[in-house]
Amino acid sequence: KKQHKKNKKDDRGPPEKEKEKEKASVPAPSKPATQSPAHKGTAFAILHSLVFVSFLYFLLVVKRLPEHIQVDDPAALKKLAKKLERQQVPLRSDYGYKVSLFSHLHQYSRKNPPTQQISIPATVIHPSIVRLGLQYSQGIIAGSNARSVALLHAFKQVIRDYSTPPNEELSRDLVNKLSPYISFLSQCRPLSASMGNAIKYIKKEISNIPSQCKEEEAKRRLQECIDSYINEKIILASEAISKYAIEKISDGDVILVYGCSSLVNHILCEAFEKQRKFRVIVVDSRPRLEGKEALRRLVKKGIRCTYVLISALSYILPEVSKVFLGAHALLANGYVMSRVGTSQIALVAKAFNVPVLVCCETYKFCERVQTDSFVSNELDDPDDLIVTRNGKTHLENWQTVKSLGLLNLVYDVTPPDFVDLVITDLGMIPCTSVPVVLRVKNVDQ
């Protein structure tokens, strides 16, 4: 942590010193005009200390903006390129024409994974991390729970293969080893909120390892920590959420779900096992068509399902009694960040007076605040929107057409007034209680 702060200080140092010099130089010439020479020295000293104090305060209070939403800033891009070069992580280049509203976000193509630029065998990046990065960038592992669990398992492997170099402490060196891995993974696909929280937890656990602890013992302890994290925050949490959610499902219900949320699918399967009589309507949308996977899982269990596309929503909603939605993250101002299209479902459900229930584990709560889907989002491969119908592909050469852009958003935010209830492992809370939960969690830690 000390090193992290020092790095921050270094980065802020040069620009701040320049600003300081500017500020100091501007009042200095005016001082002689207004004050007598005797007071000039003390005034200058006071000013200098004020500036220094404000500089320190600025350091402590301001957070660094995440890199992945500063693509339109060439200075930030240069800094990132330098950092990646230092860590020997390949830099991934953007693809295709970006819609002007989203010029601050990355847009990658699935056809150029960053793993192509890594030599075999990988020297700097652990092979399980390389495999994980490829799985993320190709969409083989998708869904926030799946990505977090895969990440934690990969870190377990890294810890197993780790050996402390001489004259180094495990608690500090391992954290430094993880940094290039995390940069690489975020180049493959921007980190999700759940992954961010998991990484914070691991780093904290690693730095809390006492220095007198033997290496084998430390490694065993860390692996136990990771296992218990997965068990508590993901597996047991979903059990608890199912228990609460099943109370809300009654016989004869028609439940609407969107896309493929592992948690919602788990809840429905549990409810079906507990002999509740209900049927499910699965809503799906292009271009990901994740609903087909959810449909497959539910039908295998034996649940009666209906499948529609999102444009048929207002036709099907009068039949629906409840809407269950999964979430990618819950933001501190009560907004729900989830797959694109979720806010639309919540909006239309509200118009038809159908209750909307969001199911989310507490480890996905994050302290970020967002009011629209533009400032922080993810742009997926725009080529996914191209489709061939009746032998004609209208958008085939969209790159050649000058004024055409394709937008493939991944996430959107749902305002809290569309959501009636959030079911978490701590209980059933309204959307606006998220900052309370975060505060309680911080106090615990």
């Binding site: 509203l101 039908v299 499948y307 036709y315 889907s373 119908r389 209208h394 852009g405 937008l407």
Partner: protein
């Protein structure tokens, strides 16, 4: 006999038109726009007036009503057919009244007093024979046809009154009227268009490529992103299949969601509808207004045992109803939806 030949020729044409109507609904035949359907219907009715055997206005109206019923039965979702038949019937009534010599205004205004005192005696009045009725009716139908030709241009001419520069406009699917509207505005103003592709048929893609040819900045978004981007949209301009008598719309799938999102963000919603899309029908039963298409567009049969065992084969929808407050742009002026019935 020349009369019989004419009749068989006429019935042949009607038969071929009916079969085309039946086919175009399933998507197998040539997909025609509603403007073409309106034009062909009117041309066919003109030919019926010219070639069929009738003595007075009443008989002609009976023939046209009969043909009209057959045409609407062939393709109930294609409401322009019914609308044009009703217009032609109205033309016949007007011409008859003019021939009879009574002034048009008093006949058209169905005041309550008249309804109470005359008590439906107007039916018998159509029995009189007039020599020039045929020529007048055909002339009036020709006027209707010229009106139909120019209707899209009339709407496009109003484009500059509604679009300012640097606007972001959202539309859904593909509408020839909206396309012409936006292209006309693009000649003088620079703006940005966001097109929601309309899965599963994705007509939005065609619309986008066509708009790009006129150098309009276009973005294609999937249907799921409609609410996400709506906060940056200044206006929503859509086309429709039918405008119902209460101001509701029967439009392509997804329009209701678009309208709700626009309402939430207080974005104005403008509908561009030519005259032949106005229908005197009311949306009485929800189900009768929806048209279903085979579900294999959404989930093909090759996707395996899922479709066979448990999935209720749900179909995709082509149309739905939208209600709410919005202005309409028709070929002559801008109307509010509450006054729709005055246009007919």
């Amino acid at each position: 006999m020349p009369g019989a030949d004419k009749e068989t020729d006429l019935s042949e044409r009607i038969e071929s038109f009916l079969s085309e109507l039946k086919r175009c609904g399933s998507g197998a035949g040539s997909l025609r726009g509603s403007a073409e359907t309106a034009r062909e219907t009117t041309a066919l009715l003109r030919r019926t007036t010219a070639q069929a055997r009738w003595g007075n206005a009443g008989e002609l109206m009976e023939i046209i009503r009969k043909e009209g019923r057959r045409m609407t039965a062939a393709q109930p979702s294609e409401t322009t057919v019914g609308n044009m038949v009703r217009r032609v019937l109205k033309i016949i009534r007007e011409e008859y009244a003019r021939s009879r010599g009574s002034s048009e205004e008093t006949d058209q205004q169905e005041s309550l007093h008249k309804l109470l005192t005359s008590g439906g005696s107007s039916e018998d009045n159509f029995r009189q024979h007039f020599a020039h009725l045929k020529a007048n009716v055909i002339e009036a139908i020709n006027e209707l046809l010229t009106e139909l030709e120019g209707t899209t241009d009339n709407i496009s001419m109003q484009a500059l009154e509604h679009i300012h520069s640097n606007e972001v406009i959202m539309t859904i699917g593909r509408s020839r009227t909206v396309e012409a509207f936006l292209k006309d505005a693009a000649r003088k103003r620079k703006f940005h268009v966001i097109v929601a592709e309309c899965a599963p048929f994705c007509q939005g893609h065609e619309m986008a490529t066509s708009l790009c040819k006129e150098d309009i900045e276009t973005t294609v978004i999937p249907d799921a992103a409609i609410f996400a981007v709506m906060s940056r949209v200044n206006k929503v301009i859509i086309g429709t299949q039918t405008v119902l008598a209460n101001g509701g719309l029967r439009a392509v799938n997804g329009t209701h969601t678009l309208a709700l999102a626009a309402k939430h963000h207080s974005t104005p919603l403008i509908v561009c509808a030519p005259m032949f899309k106005l229908s005197p029908q009311f949306p009485n039963e929800e189900d009768t207004f929806h048209k279903f298409v085979s579900p294999h567009e959404v989930l093909p049969f090759t996707e395996g045992n899922v479709t066979q065992q448990h999935l209720t084969p749900f179909s995709t929808l082509k149309t739905e109803i939208v209600t709410g407050q919005r202005p309409f742009i028709t070929h002559s002026n801008v109307f509010h939806l509450h006054h729709t019935h005055l246009l007919l």
